[in-house]
């Protein structure tokens, strides 16, 4: 048995058996729930201003969590990390705070294969400020066509927002090339790391991007928490997004002075316990052997592909070359079955104990590019193993029979 399974009570107990919906939400790790439970059982308190012992302990735990998340992301300083309620909130923060400085006619470039979280905030920004949304297309198997970027960049391009890893196909974007090209032209780059973060620490310094976002619930951490890393030079001058307590220096009805980053961007009581949980998830993940895990994840992905490829009715929407192990990919894949709708597939396979997600995966433009309404998705995490593949194989066979 995969040795990680013991750290996930829902997996170990078999209650979440054959859980292959990790791209939507992973199970939560015991080191995470333990640290959160300890924080609350020992007396929780609000952070940032208290003086009594519980309050200083809470604040130290909260700031230590920030440091852990910063280390997980490869940030130089913990204060480059802003806690948000999730990846979506983090992208919206950038769309509002960075977007506040943009003017009618400016352009935002997004990938065609993005999750709605990395499309809709930009559409709304464009609507508010009269900007143009420029779309960088994907090819037939969902890879961004980076070679088209140069032609699509203009002297009005103000931001490039792309995913690090697709939540539909598992395609990994070459974020270093994109950041490098953008940097030469002085254009900031936002990387949506929501999917990537569940598969090991990242390094914003070597990527060379300007914003990086992630979500706790996709990296074995709690729900209700996410993080935004931003280059400190940019953060320093960004106006706040949400208003409230703890993000100000002084408030009067004549005017209000804002606090320095990261506090300027953390209005109100933050998700304290969840931030501590995300810190625990980051710490735990940083202690693992990711070379080994990545190899295991690739092998299992290949096994999934092998199962699917046995059946003529099944088409895999597979990033080019990945099946053969040539390019980096996340252990996420989408498939369609002739004559069967993804919701029905998920229903039948769910009945067999196999958790899959069917639908547009919040990536309708990518579905349009593929010319389908919906796909069925299987996505792995470090606790999946061969027993899951066997169950998947059996359930696929049954599903093909039931939905014939």
């Amino acid at each position: 048995m995969n040795s990680f399974r013991n750290l996930f009570p829902a997996i170990a107990s078999g209650r979440a058996r054959t859980y292959l919906d990790n791209a939507a939400m992973t199970q939560i790790a015991k080191p995470v729930t333990d640290r959160m439970a300890e924080f609350e059982a020992d007396g929780r308190s609000n952070v940032k201003r208290g003086i009594y012992p519980l309050a200083t302990r809470a604040n130290e735990s909260f700031e230590a969590a920030r440091a852990s998340v910063a280390a997980f992301m490869g940030a130089k300083d913990k204060d480059e990390v802003i806690f948000t309620s999730g990846a979506t909130a983090a992208i919206n923060l950038v769309a509002h705070a960075y977007g506040a400085g943009l003017k009618s006619g400016d352009e935002i470039m997004v990938g065609e294969g993005e999750h709605h979280a990395n499309i809709v905030p930009w559409q709304m920004l464009c609507e508010r400020k009269g900007l143009e949304l420029v779309v960088l297309p994907v090819d037939g198997d969902g890879h961004l066509q980076i070679e088209k970027m140069v032609d699509l960049i203009s002297d009005r391009t103000r931001l490039i927002a792309v995913t690090h890893g697709s939540n539909v196909t598992g395609a990994v974007t070459d974020v270093r090339i994109i950041s490098n090209m953008a940097r030469k032209r002085g254009i900031p780059v936002l990387i949506d790391g929501a999917q990537r973060a569940g598969h090991g620490p990242v390094d914003v310094a070597s990527i060379g991007c300007d914003f990086y976002v992630l979500s706790g619930h996709k990296m074995f951490g709690p729900t209700g928490i996410g993080a935004l890393w931003a280059r400190p030079e940019i953060l320093q001058d960004l106006p706040p997004f949400l208003g409230g307590g703890e993000m100000i220096t002084r408030v009067s009805f004549d005017g209000t002075d804002y606090a320095p980053p990261p506090h300027r961007f953390e209005a109100g009581t933050p998700p304290v316990t969840q931030a501590i949980g995300l810190g625990a998830a980051a710490d735990w993940m940083m202690g693992l052997d990711w070379a080994e895990i990545t190899t295991a994840e690739r092998e299992l992905t290949q096994s999934l592909l092998d199962v699917l490829n046995q059946h003529k009715r099944i088409t895999v929407w597979d990033p080019m070359g990945v099946a053969a192990g040539k390019v980096p990919r996340l252990p996420i894949l989408s498939f369609t079955v002739e004559g069967a709708h993804p919701h029905d597939i998920c229903e039948v396979m769910g009945g067999e104990g196999v958790a899959l997600r069917g639908g547009h995966h919040c990536a309708q433009p990518l579905m349009s590019a593929f010319g389908v309404d919906a796909t069925t998705r299987a996505s792995l995490a470090l606790y999946n193993d061969e027993t899951d593949i066997e169950a998947f194989d059996k359930a696929i066979t049954r599903m093909l029979k039931v939905l014939s």
Partner: protein, 144 residues
């Protein structure tokens, strides 16, 4: 048999296959897109009226087998009837799903959905095509 399989019986499959017979109507009196925003399924319906009678129903279903089957039931039951038949269909569909009350008369075909009663999260699939036709008809009668 696992818990989920019971809804995919021959009756439902048969109905779903028949949804393909529902063609498009060029000069419909009304047309409407209904979305299940939670799952992304969409039903496009077109209705041709003849006075208060439903002359024909057409459209396109992009959704699961239940959505297709429900569209087929409507397509089988409504044409040639007074438009009021639709309200009755919705009432019967809701009652069947809520507590298994068998459908009768024009809507007997709904009884194919009896196994869906135990699958609460799929009830909306059955109702989506009804809502689409209802909204479509509402566009034509000025009441609303």
């Amino acid at each position: 048999m696992s818990a989920a399989d019971d809804i995919y019986d021959a009756a439902i499959k048969d109905l779903a296959a028949r949804a393909r017979n529902m063609g498009r109507i060029e000069d419909a009196d009304c047309s409407h897109d209904a979305d299940n925003f939670l799952c992304g399924d969409r039903v496009t319906v077109e209705v041709a009226l003849n006075g208060d009678a439903i002359e024909n129903i057409g459209g396109k279903v992009r959704g699961c087998m239940l959505v297709q089957a429900a569209a087929a039931v409507i397509h089988g039951a409504a044409p040639g009837k007074d438009r009021a038949v639709l309200a009755e269909g919705i009432t019967q569909a809701r009652a069947l799903l809520a507590d298994g009350t068998p459908a009768t008369g024009d809507w007997e075909g709904l009884n194919a959905f009896t196994p869906v009663q135990g699958h609460k999260h799929r009830h909306d699939c059955v109702l989506l095509p009804f809502e689409a036709v209802e909204a479509c008809l509402a566009d034509t009668d000025g009441t609303d």
